[in-house]
Symmetry: C2
């Protein structure tokens, strides 16, 4: 079990530093993200938050995730046209998502580092490794 790279109180500190208010829905979102081992869609975050505070609306969750992302506390990425997945910022790097089981995995930074270097070298393209998840078939689903 790796450290997530950020703690509850660190998130709250960043909010205070940026004159953002600390509200019950935000606390709930933080707890959900800290308690999640894998990557969650906005809908999954909402459902988990609603287990504690049933009145929290999806739009609030989107707004909170957006705020957290603007503060570099959260990262989201896309795989195909499916829903985006969110997780706390930290040691994460690239993402790959299995087309069969829909689980998103972290990819070691060295793999993405090399890709980024190759793209820069061949086309001068600067890779944004956080934003997009590659698709494919994971080892388990390939049997």
């Amino acid at each position: 079990m790796e450290s997530k790279g950020i703690r509850n109180d660190e998130v709250l500190a960043v909010l205070r530093e940026n004159a953002k208010r600390i509200t019950a829905p935000k606390r709930a979102v933080i707890d959900v993200l800290l308690g999640a081992d894998d990557h969650l869609t906005a809908d999954e975050v909402t459902r988990r938050v609603q287990q504690i505070r049933s009145e929290v609306s999806p739009s609030t969750v989107y707004r909170i995730l957006e705020e957290f992302e603007s503060l570099l506390l959260v990262v989201h990425s896309h795989a195909g046209q499916a829903a985006a997945v969110y997780h706390l910022a930290g040691r994460s790097h690239g993402h790959v998502t299995c087309e069969m089981c829909h689980v998103t995995f972290e990819v070691s930074s060295s793999v993405f580092d090399r890709l980024a270097r190759d793209l820069m070298g061949s086309d001068g393209f600067e890779l944004d490794r956080h934003h997009v998840a590659l698709s494919g078939i994971c080892a388990r689903c390939r049997d």
Copy 2:
């Protein structure tokens, strides 16, 4: 100007081989895809088709693109949550999309080959290089 790797009559031949009917909307879609230098969204394909045959509906274009893709004539990929982009199958490999100008580029197969090898080696993950577009900033937009 590179060859697109497939010609009008080859597309029609594949349709015949697979007992698919050759209709005016399909001919129009083929012409649009053959005439496009870059990658088109389904909406762009629809609009260009409608310049010739104004009655063709978006859903028909989606169904045609889906059929063509199942026949391996067309490939589509996603960049973020934006609309998918389609183009004729051929020598294409991976895609990268610029977050600033939203242009999608082909990436040389060697870059994606190496990435695929790395992912297989490190995590046993089998990359689907066609389906997802990486994001970043292209050389032109970086100034």
